[in-house]
Amino acid sequence: MTDQGTQSPPDERPPNGRSFDGVMDRIAGIGEPIRRALLLPTLALVLALVVGAFIIMVTDVDAWRRMGDEPLAALGDMLDGVWVAYRELFIGAFGSVRALSETLFTSTPLILAGLAVAVGFRAGLFNIGARGQIFVGGLFALWVGLHVDLPAILHIPVAVIAAMIGGGIWGGLAGLLKARTGAHEVITTIMLNFVAAFFTLWVLKTSVFQEEGSTIPKSAPILESARLPTIFGSQYRINIGIFIAIAAVFFVYWILFRSTIGFEFRAAGFSPSASLYAGMNVAFLYTAVMFLSGALSGLAGATQTLGLPPYTVTDNFAGNIGFDAIALALLGRSHPFGVLWSGLLFGALIAGGRVMQAAAGVTVDLVIVMQSLIVIFIAAPELVRAIFKVKAAEAEPTQVTTGWGA
């Protein structure tokens, strides 16, 4: 590269004058204009809702049956279906104290798993394995919750730490494989998800976990002392897990932007080659960051096994959190605070989605579709720009991965 012209043009950044104090903000990645941070996600959400409405309409079987005879009435039914679905979604998310409790309760594991994916992104790794790590972490916590007899003040921390170790091992395994053999983490983490799911299915049928007399993969109820205490009494499911999640947000912020290892994570994420030349042990970093990522997912697993009434665990306790986490990490631009807000948003969508499913017959799968769309719009800001004819120029496309290169 000799001439300016052959270099890739530097990414477009507004050349606004920042004082020297701006150094800290830049390095820390905060202090971006609020508008820039919010505009794109808001537009993405709006677009996703619009497309979602369209999907609700075209999948309305009853309305289609009327279409031949009374097309206008059928169309009205369709629009009504959208209205009911979105109304219930909103009410289910924000409409009552119970709804708010459900939103926060649902957000808890999402925030934790979202942090897990975000940490991976920052180090250039795409951890699709939150699901498997939730399983393994959750099982570790479950074992402690069932078989270790401790006072609550110790029992909960021990179970939570066990979950972090379990999830960390499962994530770290993928990191180790990448570091030692170059096996791409996208493939290994997906495969480890399947392995963990089958393992969970099996282990919940063994005498170690299974409820006596049960024939299905379902654990016995965990000991009282290991249950995450609810905050507003047992009629609301929200528990201290949300505080764990918020603490994790600040912890991850500190790790990423204020610690030496976070500096290494980010350097390796942007340029593994330059990190190697700077003397960083990139192989170790891959393992470490995947351990950290797995540990955060493991925490999400713990909130699922220790905090979900009736405190018996079935084989699908990881739900769809693993995917939600990817979407919300992208939505939150892999920044811990961004993840916090996106986690709350997705928590609201899903909590509301459950009510919508019950009341309007639109399954929660719609939320998956909307999340996918949000990710597309976030990852392709130009698309949003083209649709809304606005200048969302500040948003650069996200490039987090590069080929299969070892």
Partner: protein, 425 residues
Amino acid sequence: MTATAELFETEARVRATPEERRSTIVGIVLIALGVYVFWAFGLGSGAGLDARFNLSLQTDRFQDLSWVVDARTLSILVAVIIVGLGIWRVTRSALSWTNISLAIGFGLFSLAFLAWAAAGGQFSLVGMLRSTVLLSVVVVLGALTGLMCERVGIINIGIEGQLLASAFAAVVLSSAFGTIAGLVGALLTGGVLGLLLAWLTIRFHVDQIIAGVVINFLALGLTSLMTARILTDVQTLNAPERISAIRIPFLADIPVLGPMLFDHSFFVYGMFILLVGLHFGLFYTRWGLRSRSVGEHPKAADTAGINVYWVRYRNVVLGGMIAGFGGAFLGLSQVARFEENMTGGIGFIGLAAMIFGRWLPFGALGAGLVFGFSRAVQQKVSILGIGIPSEFLLMLPYIVVIVVVAGVVGKTRPPAADGQPYIKQ
């Protein structure tokens, strides 16, 4: 004089090359495997228990072919051969044989395992081989999809979603309008999702892996939603006509090979034709040369007057259509109905098969057969009921993928521009 002294000193600190080290590791693995075979299958099989491997199906022209073997003797023999191969590897001679030794070792291991499992009973070997082919079809087609895309530099993680969505389209359209409509619909669905991948990654520079993951979940979400809202309500849309097998005259009567290869639906024959076509197309035609140049060095292709974007769009869409073909096979050929998330990760296994097969069509076939075999073993062995929990057998193909991508195959060389966006000024 000094030269010899220096040379001597040089040799005093010679470290192994990566290939030599791999040979040693493979050797140690093989020795351990051999010892395990001896202990578990050799000593583990009761003395004098015969395993009967059936070599014909009830529908075959030639009936009652079988191979009877003493499980213990066979296992011990296999153990000795595997240990021998392992020792040979540890000596680091003939390095090009490392992978072949490994393949032979695992093949023999499987044989001993089956003999042990079937000891004192019988086991349909030909049935298992037939299943191997059937179970590898989607894996191979998935791998070919990935190969089509990656040969032009675009990583396709969305194969899973392309398979799932096109299976759904095949089932619904076939139920409503007949088989042809189902097939066409599946091809189009796969192609459209390929187009979406190409559009997002080329036009909007979306990270290729993110785009692929999104396609997977979009397909999962949409098909699940439509299954719940439409198919449960209108069951007739989930009842396509099952596509039956076409027996090829004479060839289908060959013992073992006949039922294995020549008594299938046209999907299987289609896969083989596609495979051969892709092999020659990629390496002997203008289309292949241009495609590969775009995947290796897009700028060089551009300066040679080749439209990089067009080539990428075209191949990714064609790749999606291959996945569409695979999805139609999933939906119409075996169970002939759509179930939520019925792909169960097979698209990802296809992706791994592509890597294992080193981005070569016949490599994809070989890798696909390995995965098909591991699934076939899992299915047949769970019928035998040998005390291994079914969950562990179900894990097997996924573990095989991890082992494979973690470098059983040694150093692979993907297309040089794989995964990199090509951005013109």
